[in-house]
């Protein structure tokens, strides 16, 4: 059965075509499952998308953010190079005389062979490192409920690649020897590993060598085809899912949740409670998961023992969607699943596949999405399921009901009388737009700094700074409304849209053009979400704005403070809006401040625990409160001050310090407060 000769080549072709047909049928089914999802436009900015493939697929940009990723980079490229080699091998299986050098030329082929040998050798090393990591080091992030299945899957894949490389080298070594004896035969010496390995076969007769060659060739071919068939059923489905998923990654900011159409009266259900209510892209996400666990490794909920692990959410959804999708597509599958009491038919997306505590545990901090190498979008899935729970079932943690009511009647989560919204500014030099008419900047204060005693101090520091630098600004006072950000993240899109429309009307009524906020949540919402409803203004977070004023010399931080300061990045400022430098530059401008950074800082910053409406929910699950975990991370650095840029972070840290009885020794101060102290405003 010499490869490339009759009948071997015919048999090969039959096997090859059969394996490919099977593979394509499986893919087709997966495609049909994805198409069960609702439409979503992900075809905009095509050029950006194509560039993304270069960076994130071929460059593995996000993968190599972590040390283990370098191993993946090698294996990935090794795999591509091996595939190029395999094409030659298959060619030779159809016609024995087929060889790259005959049309690529000897030089180019030599280079290719050298590269192949180098990469294959490197991949072997990388694979052993991978095995060592998974089976000896066992990092937490690789853990799954069914660890045996996960390990078996990984073992099979790593094993197959190893075997493949061994077989490839074997075939090459023998080919080298055969080429020596063949008139007109050629084998590039550049393939130095193969050449060296040929020593193992030295001295065998040509016939024996042919035997070895057949063995290596067939084994190699079957392993590859086996791999092809196995991929879609394993976590290596990501080989197929990741590329389109990276291509179709979101082009909108992560802080922009989808706008629901609440006008359409034909709509009968809102949010997501079945797989078909996800969009096709949300389903495609599931195929792309590499089970790398980076999302969970950065998830504040998971790390503090909440019943939420983004990697498991994706894994559970993937398993469910495949089975449920098959059911929806084939009556036979449907019958099988229905007759089985443990079958997928009986499983509810919310309740069985994802549990409510899981859905409500998410702080929407964005750490999962930031670190997912294949751009899976977790947050939108949780929010969409919340939307179903809130809008359809009125089901949410009990404490939320009061908060929703408070927003409805008084437009603030505390439920304090709406008429007292402007009271914080009573004794300050600040005009309302009603008094001032048009001003250059509107200072949109937000609920926290309007109603919460602690937050009010941030607002007054801000007002003093703005006055000091002569900025022409005003506030809305009693007319201000909650921006609705939190209601939206809790899933109450109806309430959010009502609030947004109302606020936009008020702001546009005053011809507002530029807005400053002291709250990253309001900042993100006004900047990234309000355009959906016709609110288009220039939005500044106070860190950006104050940094600008300092740079222009309008504010001079001259009073030094001899303090150790740790800065905590707010998720909605950092990850959501890429503002990392401005608050730091402000802090550095204050003489005497010694700024230190936590391990989890900037885009890895750990959430304070308040986002996604968690501020308003009890935190009873898990083994530690998120704010206390974060406070501990800061305390390791021995700070005198924790610097923050968000009123919610302020509260969370202050509570965290109280829990540790450290509230007397460590202060939590907003950048505006710190700057006001350093500037020494006239009004003090």
């Amino acid at each position: 059965m010499q490869p490339g000769h009759f009948p071997a080549n015919v048999i090969f072709l039959i096997v090859f075509v059969a394996a490919n047909v099977f593979f394509l049928l499986t893919i087709h089914k997966l495609y049909k499952i994805v198409r069960l999802g609702k439409p979503e436009d992900r075809f905009d900015r095509a050029w950006e998308r194509i560039k993304g493939l270069a960076t994130f697929v071929f460059g593995q940009r996000r993968v190599i953010d972590e040390p283990a990723g370098w191993g993946h980079l090698l294996i990935f490229w090794g795999f591509i190079i091996i595939t190029i080699g395999s094409i030659e091998t298959f060619g030779a299986g159809i016609y024995h005389g087929f060889a790259y050098w005959k049309f690529l030329g000897k030089g180019l082929t030599g280079g290719l062979y050298l590269l192949q040998d180098l990469l294959c050798a490197a991949v072997v090393v990388a694979l052993f490192v991978a095995l060592y990591r998974r089976f000896v080091l066992k990092p937490q992030r690789l853990s799954y409920e069914d660890q045996r299945a996960a390990n078996l899957d990984a073992g099979i894949i790593i094993g197959l690649i190893l075997v493949l490389i061994v077989l490839l080298f074997g075939a090459r070594a023998v080919e080298y020897l055969l080429a020596q004896g063949e008139p007109g035969g050629y084998f590039p010496k550049a393939a130095f590993v193969s050449v060296a390995l040929s020593g193992l076969f030295a001295g065998y007769s040509e016939q024996v060598l042919h035997g070895w060659y057949s063995f290596f060739w067939w084994a190699h071919t079957l392993v590859i085809l086996g791999f092809l068939i196995y991929i879609p059923f394993s976590k290596h489905l990501h080989l197929l899912g990741a590329i389109p998923n990276i291509f179709f990654r979101r082009s909108s900011p992560i802080g922009e949740l989808t706008k629901m159409d609440l006008e359409d009266e034909t709509v009968e259900t809102y949010g997501v409670s079945t797989i078909q209510e996800f969009t096709w892209k949300q389903l495609l996400d599931l195929y792309a998961c590499t089970e790398c666990g980076r999302c969970s490794d950065n998830c504040p909920a998971d790390l503090t023992g909440k019943p939420l692990s983004p990697k498991l959410t994706i894994h559970h959804l993937k398993e469910h969607v495949q089975k449920k999708g098959n059911m929806l597509l084939s009556q036979r599958e449907a019958a099988a699943e229905t007759s089985n009491p443990e079958g997928e038919a009986a499983k509810a997306l919310i309740g069985d596949v994802c549990v409510e505590d899981e859905i409500w545990s998410c702080t929407t901090c964005g750490n999962c999405m930031e670190h997912c190498p294949v751009f899976i979008e977790h947050i939108d899935k949780y929010v969409d399921m919340r939307r179903y729970l809130v809008l359809m079932e009125s089901k949410f943690p009990g404490e939320i009901q009061t908060v929703l009511r408070n927003w409805e009647t008084n437009s603030n989560p505390w439920g304090l009388g709406f008429a007292s919204r402007g009271d914080w500014a009573k004794d300050l030099r600040v005009k309302t737009l009603a008094e001032a008419g048009e001003v250059e900047y509107l200072y949109y204060v937000g609920c926290s700094s309007s109603f919460d005693e602690r937050g009010k101090k941030i607002a007054s520091a801000m007002v003093k700074l703005l006055n000091q630098s002569g900025v022409d600004f005003g506030i809305l006072g009693t007319e201000e409304r909650c921006c609705g950000e939190t209601a939206r993240r809790i899933g109450n899109e109806y309430l959010f849209q009502t609030m947004a429309t109302e606020l936009i009307e008020i702001m546009n009524g005053y011809k507002v053009r530029k807005i400053i906020t002291t709250c990253p949540h309001g900042y993100n919402c006004l900047k990234n979400e309000y355009p959906q409803f016709g609110g288009n203004w220039e939005i500044y977070h106070h860190s950006e704005f104050l940094a600008k004023l300092v740079k222009e010399g309008k504010l001079r931080p001259k009073h030094g403070m001899d303090k150790n300061l740790v800065f905590h990045d707010s998720c909605y400022l950092g990850r959501y809006n890429s503002i990392y430098e401005e608050p730091r530059s402000l802090l550095k401008s204050i003489p005497g401040v010694r700024l230190s950074e936590m391990d989890r800082a900037r885009n890895k910053a750990f959430c304070c625990g308040a986002g996604g409406g968690r501020m308003w929910m009890e935190e009873t699950l898990g083994d530690q409160r998120i704010n206390e975990a974060r406070t501990e991370q800061a305390l390791v650095l021995g700070p005198d001050i924790v610097g923050v840029s968000c009123p919610f972070c302020t509260t969370m840290f202050e509570d965290g310090l109280k829990a540790r009885n450290m509230d007397d020794t460590v202060e939590v101060l907003d950048i505006a407060e710190l700057l006001a102290m350093a500037v020494g405003t006239k009004e003090d």
């Binding site: 809008l391 359809m392 009901q401 008084n410 009388g417 709406f418 007292s420 109806y494």
Partner: protein
């Protein structure tokens, strides 16, 4: 089974109340209006009967046009239809006047049970429900924290100091509801509920429709008059006394004696 819930729209409990220039009423210009919380418990109780016994739930309210909003809130929670008695002649009615109007409205409707909060959190009079029962000639079960219906009878529980009493009455009957938010956990309207509520029937009636003469109601018929209204003193910020324990104690006694005049 038909259940009618009497519902009142009241100022939000967090509203900063301002006394009107007349010194006898409140300035309603800057007020957020909500459904009287006790009436909301009544709505919740009625909706539970709707679920368990297929009861038809009608909301009956009296008040100006803005009260429509309160009725829609109840419709969004799941009530079937609403009736609003909106007549300027009713303005200034005392409890009896209001009860007369509501009783007249009930006369034109079918019902097995009439539900309402035991009091409204605005004027806190605890009267209208009981008066409506009297004027309609049906039994009244007061301050319910639970309700069951069986064999033509309504049975409620009411907590007493450290105990509980169970009361029963033959229907038709009027039940006033007590308890607290945590007892009833009134449901939060779903979005389809809100959408449907916009299309549910809501009838508006005048005194003439009910056959009530304007002389029987309104301010001039009121047997009880509000003579004045006042706000409590504004709460002052806390004060921290300085000095050693002795001095602090002395200062505290002085303040309690001279300023607060409590000792």
């Amino acid at each position: 089974m038909d259940v009618i819930v009497l519902l009142k729209q009241v100022p939000d409990t967090e509203t900063k109340i301002k006394i009107d220039a007349d010194g006898k009423s409140i300035d309603t210009s800057d007020i957020k209006w909500i459904v009287n919380p006790y009436d909301e418990y009544a709505v919740e109780a009625a909706l539970r009967l709707q679920e368990s016994d297929g009861a038809m739930v009608t909301i009956l309210s009296m008040g100006p046009e803005r009260a429509v909003e309160a009725i829609r809130t109840a419709l969004a929670m799941g009530a079937d239809k609403g009736v609003l008695v909106d007549d300027p002649a009713t303005e200034g009615s005392d409890a009896l006047g209001k009860a007369k109007v509501l009783a007249a409205a009930l006369r034109s409707m079918d019902f097995d049970l009439v539900f309402c909060g035991h009091r409204a959190v605005d004027d806190d009079e605890n009267q209208v429900g009981i008066m409506v029962a009297e004027l309609t000639g049906i039994p009244h079960l007061g301050m319910a924290v639970s309700i069951e219906v069986a064999d033509g009878k309504a049975r409620i529980e009411r907590p007493l100091e450290g105990a509980k009493v169970t009361l029963e009455a033959t229907m038709p009957a009027l039940v006033t509801f007590g308890g607290a938010h945590a007892v009833w956990n009134p449901r939060y309207a779903s979005l389809p509920g809100i959408m449907k509520a916009k299309k549910k029937p809501l009838e508006q009636k005048t005194l003439a429709d009910l056959g009530v003469s304007p002389d029987e109601v309104g301010a001039q018929a009121a047997k009880m008059q509000v003579t004045s209204m006042g706000l409590p003193k504004e709460r002052q910020a806390g004060r921290v006394l300085e000095g050693d324990t002795d001095e602090k104690a002395k200062e505290l006694t002085r303040l309690l004696h001279e300023e607060a005049k409590v000792i």
